[in-house]
């Protein structure tokens, strides 16, 4: 099976996975185009890993369907998976085997030449520790071995589930560099994470998933370039109420001594005129830049209690980690 130019690498159509009482993935539809570094962002338990499991064929969907490289039949998907390098959750290897022997197993499964093993080991900086047993590896080394395994066979699509999990800032930086390098080589990367800044720094596109549903998807540039209007006036109550009624306001929120709103058309002058006509005169009006964290918070809704916090290993990197839904 070869890819037809313009065919999405991944496309899902109302894909769902329901367990007895729980809906882990709820009719999600998204597409990943060739060459994208696609971030799949969501808090723990949002359905990221289940979605990846569905794509990789280790979890059976209960609804919807998906295509990999344009094919959706069982044989297409099996063939497509040979073009994918992926890890799910923690790095999964044989603890009693060395890093190199573990990669021999992977190379054998992928029907790749054993000579490739040294190349990927060097690529992730594990060449000198390759003879040590996997169980003796640090978490960072395990993550790097998992990355090496995904790169065996030079796959067109690389799927990584929380690749920076448990890493210190230095380890996260290394993994980020490797992923960026892969992206620059034109690989399509599907990366799940709950680390907001990691996704912002690494990905070209993002989908935000919460409670099994995709609530926002776009390019990272588009998502963050849509500034929000920051507004102040003497009567904040009246300002908040008026902005709430403004037809072009996608949403608005009162934050401290100001009201913020995302405008459909981005036209601040029109908003100013509209407020002036209602007797509300602004003392401050500015377009404020947004981080992915802002977008995430807005999309998931602060009312649902999703907090953004600095993770324990992230102090130096400024990475923000999504907390559990409280």
């Amino acid at each position: 099976m070869t890819s037809v130019p313009g065919t999405p690498i991944i496309q899902t159509f109302g894909l769902s996975k329901r367990y007895r009482k729980t809906t882990a993935v709820d009719e999600i539809s998204f597409r990943v185009e060739p060459g994208q570094v696609f971030g799949f962002l969501g808090p723990n338990g949002a359905g990221k890993t289940t979605t990846i499991g569905l794509l990789l064929g280790i979890i059976t969907p209960t609804g919807g369907r998906f295509e990999l490289f344009g094919g959706g039949s069982a044989s297409d998907l099996h063939a497509a998976r040979r073009r994918i390098g992926a890890t799910l959750e923690t790095p999964n290897f044989y603890p009693y085997l060395s890093g190199r022997d573990n990669l021999r197993i992977v190379a054998n499964v992928k029907r790749r030449d054993a000579a490739e093993i040294e190349r990927v080991l060097d690529l992730v900086g594990l060449g000198r520790r390759a003879k040590h047993k996997f169980k003796a590896y640090s978490l960072g080394m395990k993550q790097r071995l998992a990355l090496a395994a995904t790169m065996l066979g030079d796959p067109e699509l690389i799927i990584l589930d929380e690749p920076a999990n448990g890493l210190d800032p230095e380890g996260m930086r290394e993994i980020r560099e490797i992923i960026r390098g892969l992206g620059e080589r034109g690989k399509t990367i599907f990366l799940s994470s709950h680390l907001l800044s990691e996704v912002e720094r690494t990905c070209t596109h993002v989908a935000i998933i919460q409670n099994g549903r995709i609530i926002r998807q776009d390019s990272v540039a588009d998502v963050t370039s849509h500034g929000v209007a920051g507004l102040r006036s003497a009567d904040l109550e009246a300002l908040a109420a008026a902005v709430g009624e403004y037809p072009a306001a996608l949403w608005s929120d009162r934050r401290g001594d100001r009201v913020v709103a995302e405008l459909d058309d981005g036209d601040l002058a029109a908003l100013n005129a509209w407020l002036g006509a209602r007797g509300i005169h602004l003392s401050h009006m500015a377009l404020e830049a947004r981080s992915l964290e802002d977008v995430f918070m807005e999309a998931t809704g602060a009312a649902e209690g999703v907090s953004a916090e600095v993770g324990p290993g992230d102090a130096g990197s400024g990475s923000h980690q999504l907390g559990e839904v409280r």
Binding site: G53, L88, Y94, N108
Partner: protein, 273 residues
């Protein structure tokens, strides 16, 4: 499938549990059969030589090898679920079919390996006491048939182990369930059902362990050994052994083996990894 089986071989070869199990079984077998060898050296009236010694070499203790083989099957299969390598193998490109049937190939391999190890160790000791120069036939059709029957018994126990490993997906609990079924579970179930439903008794005799065990009585394959066992029984006023029809036992065992492997496959395929 061949690639998957090659991976299995590499994993098995490098797994310390393989060598610990084989080593332990080897030691137990050497201790058991070296005892026979030494006793025979001390007592010329009770020699240990081939082909007569096969009744001891392939006697009750063959079961120890099947227990070790089954334990190793459980360790090699169930651990893949704990380590999540079963899942990773599929992610890396093996189909579920390839993964499962590569594991199935371990069943005959390990059954044959442990049986062959016992036969080789016992055969070596007994060969030392055999007068080959006198033209003794140290291995014949009877022994081949016995090895074949016992191999099928081993397949049965190891298939049950594979089924339990795939169903339970954790080595410790899987071993506990396998041992429990082997040691007393089947007898309890058969006894209970037999007491409740008298008409079921003829069918209950064909429960898996009972069926497999029908094939591991050496004297059923060797007429000379059977004659000697019958004479001993008369001398000692014990019930005289009976010759059984092995055909139904073979058929029953193969049916159980096929059922266990197919049910294991269906169970494995149905569940998410």
């Amino acid at each position: 499938m061949w690639a998957a089986f090659r991976s299995e071989m590499r994993k098995m070869w490098k797994r310390p549990a393989t060598w610990v199990t084989l080593g332990l079984f080897g030691l137990i077998t050497v201790a058991d059969l070296f005892g026979e060898y030494r006793r025979a050296r001390k007592d010329p009236d009770d020699p240990f030589f081939l082909p007569d010694a096969w009744s001891l070499i392939l006697g009750e203790e063959v079961m120890v090898g099947f227990i070790f083989a089954s334990v190793l099957v459980i360790l090699l299969v169930a651990a893949e679920f704990s380590w999540r390598t079963a899942r990773q193998n599929v992610i890396d490109g093996l189909s579920k079919t390839q993964w499962y049937w590569a594991k199935v190939l371990l069943v005959p391999l390990l059954s044959a390996l442990f049986l062959a190890l016992r036969a080789a160790i016992g055969g070596s000791f007994a060969l030392a006491g055999t007068d080959l120069a006198a033209g003794a036939q140290w291995f014949g059709a009877a022994q081949l048939a016995a090895l074949g029957g016992m191999f099928v018994t081993g397949l049965g126990f190891a298939s049950l182990a594979l089924f339990v490993a795939v169903a339970i997906r954790a080595s410790g609990p899987a071993m506990a369930v396998w041992f429990a079924w082997f040691a007393f579970g089947e007898r309890l179930v058969v006894g209970g059902l037999g007491a409740l439903f008298e008409g079921w008794r003829p069918i209950l005799k064909w429960a898996p362990i009972m069926t497999f065990n029908r094939l591991r009585d050496y004297i059923q394959y060797d007429s000379e050994a059977f004659r000697m066992a019958a004479e001993r029984a008369v001398e000692q006023e014990r019930p005289v052994p009976e010759l059984e029809a092995l055909g139904p036992a073979f058929a029953g065992s193969f049916l159980w083996i096929a059922a266990l492997l197919v049910f294991g496959w269906l169970w494995y395929r149905k569940r998410d990894l």
